[in-house]
């Protein structure tokens, strides 16, 4: 490892996050010949097959493709939840596969926000406490946690709903709580796995408007998996996966 990458790695893992913004002109995320193989021998399954990909800071990318195309595997690796079997995944120039389990957890804690199809909120826990959760792992003081969580909920339009538990909220509201939880840490990258998959059309458009706003106003890079072309159309760029490869990588026309 060269001195430059070592210092980049240190910068990535120190907290508080360095004040410098995400490097312009340089990719935020980069796949270099990334493969992911499950199983061994004849039963081996190539989920990703030598994928090259570069995503710059501030992009809004939709990831599409049929099930089994490798898009979920790619998202897991991009979310630092998994590592490639071969090739390299660079996050801000640092090879994620060289990081330890704990280092990847810290990276997720400091740079990433997750939104899931099934919302994945903690049951019987108030919206405010759900949003505070990532801040607890950052050791934020109680008053700061409350303030930031309230601000994040306000940003997703849920002022006044802080004390409600997921069971008392509609699907659209639950997803907005999940988005508030993802952005409360001011992440560089927001990973959304079919965020509108469980919502009706009207709620889906509300959630998309919210993501577009976050991308536009706060410069958060958004990576979203979706099945619906209508939702993918909100993105600047659509990547199609097929059989473990990138089949198509093009720019969309923007919001419909």
């Amino acid at each position: 490892m060269t001195a430059a990458t070592a210092s980049a790695k240190n910068a990535l893992l120190t907290w508080p996050r360095p004040a410098s913004p995400d490097p312009a002109g340089q990719p935020l995320l980069e796949f270099r010949q990334v493969s992911k193989i499950y199983g061994t021998g004849t039963a081996a399954m190539r989920a990703l097959d030598g994928v090259d990909l570069r995503i710059g800071p501030g992009e809004f990318v939709a990831v599409m493709g049929p099930s089994g195309s490798g898009k979920s595997t790619a998202m897991n690796i991009l979310g630092c939840l998994d590592t490639p079997s071969a090739g390299s995944y660079l996050f801000r120039g640092v090879a994620v596969e060289t990081l330890s389990h704990d280092q990847r957890a810290r990276l997720r804690r400091h740079y990433l926000g997750f939104v899931f199809q099934g919302f994945n909120l903690l049951n019987r826990t108030s919206a405010l406490e759900n949003v505070e959760l990532p801040l607890i792992y950052r050791r934020a003081p109680r008053t700061e946690r409350h303030a930031r969580a309230r601000a994040a909920l306000a940003q997703v339009g849920l002022t006044g709903w802080e004390g409600h538990t997921p069971g008392e909220l509609s699907g659209g509201q639950q997803q907005r709580v999940a988005i508030a939880r993802a952005i409360v840490t001011e992440p560089s990258l927001l990973l959304a796995d079919e965020p509108t998959g469980n919502l009706d059309t009207a709620r889906s458009h509300e959630v998309m408007e919210l993501l577009v706003g976050l991308n536009r106003d706060q410069g958060i890079t958004v990576l979203m998996v979706t099945h619906e072309a209508e939702m993918a159309a909100y993105a600047h760029r659509i990547i199609h996966f097929r059989d473990g490869r990138v089949a198509d990588d093009g720019h969309a026309g923007g919001p419909v």
């Binding site: 897991n76 979310g79 939840l81 998994d82 389990h101 704990d102 957890a105 810290r106 990276l107 997720r108 804690r109 400091h110 990433l112 926000g113 997750f114 899931f116 994945n120 903690l122 019987r124 959760l133 990532p134 607890i136 792992y137 950052r138 050791r139 939880r181």
Partner: protein
Amino acid sequence: MLWNALLLAFREIRRNVLRSFLTILGVVIGVASVIVMVTLGNGATRAVATQIESMGSNLLMIRKGQHMGPGQTSSAPAFDLEDTVALERDIPAIKSLAPSATDSITAVVGNASWATSVNGTDNRFFSVRNWTLERGRLFSASELSGGRAACVIGATVRKELFGPQDPIGSNLRLKQISCEVIGLLAGKGQSSMGHDQDDLVVMPLRTFQRRIAGNQDVTLIQVSIRDGESTERAKTDIERLLRERRKVAAGEQDNFSVRDMKEVATMLTGTTQVLTTLLSAVAAVSLLVGGIGIMNIMLVSVTERTREIGIRLAIGALEREVLMQFLVEAVALSSLGGVLGILLALGASIGLADILKVPFVFNGGIVLTAFLFSAAVGVIFGYFPARRAARLDPIEALRRE
């Protein structure tokens, strides 16, 4: 972080109040039984010690024959009053001694009768055995020398024969003699062996010998030793003197026994302590079983909360933070069990001590030990489920419904 984990643990416990309670029940019972056993055991030990003290400190009991087991003595000649005179004269360590002869006789008053132990002795008996008078008087010199039928009775005899009436001045029939009650002894309660010490009638030795036993025998000599003198030394001196007087040949076994009540006390308290330890050990096993109960529920909890763990790991919780969370929860559960167990034990020991008539002896040490032990149970049995939670793969965990 620890504070947060603690808050989270208590929230989880509150969410499943019934389940949490059932989970910790094993620890509650384990902790409570250990404390109750130790507390009652200590109470019993204290009771034995107090009772033996009440018999008289520095007390030696000289009996004829050798003690052969429960209620059996080898046949041997009895003592006589000259033996007691010789003991007092030749052994300076003796403060006081009381010769006595005893028999079990049914006492009758009107329609009431009661089988009791009748003691022929003199006034020194009361001082040697630490008896105090509740009412009436002890024997006069003329009663002792004249062999008059006067008697001092214990609290139990009074209760059985006279009820609430004042017994002083009434008459008591013992076999063919009628005996005037002149004194009532203050109650001492049960002895360590369950023997009622207050169940006795005392009369002058001469009266007993002439009118009940029909001989001059002294069957028991109770000796109190001066403060500061060694009871061991006094015991050896007494043995040497009696062997000489009773013409026991060298190499032959004593045909009498000298018992130091302190030895008996040590032996008895030793026995109760061994029993206490044994019972506590059995109780400690139930603590272990309680720990397994906690492990079981923690494993169920990890399975149930797989998705929650996945979320926590995805948003950046470290493995050791998840481990800590579940470990803290297990320890909070088991400590809560410990606290409930301590409260239950204190209530139960106070109640049981009352029923079993042993003093309630509070032992802060065992309460603290039991609490720490219960917390340790949480750490030991919580570690495995906690590690299981921490090692979950976030991708798998999030996919789980």
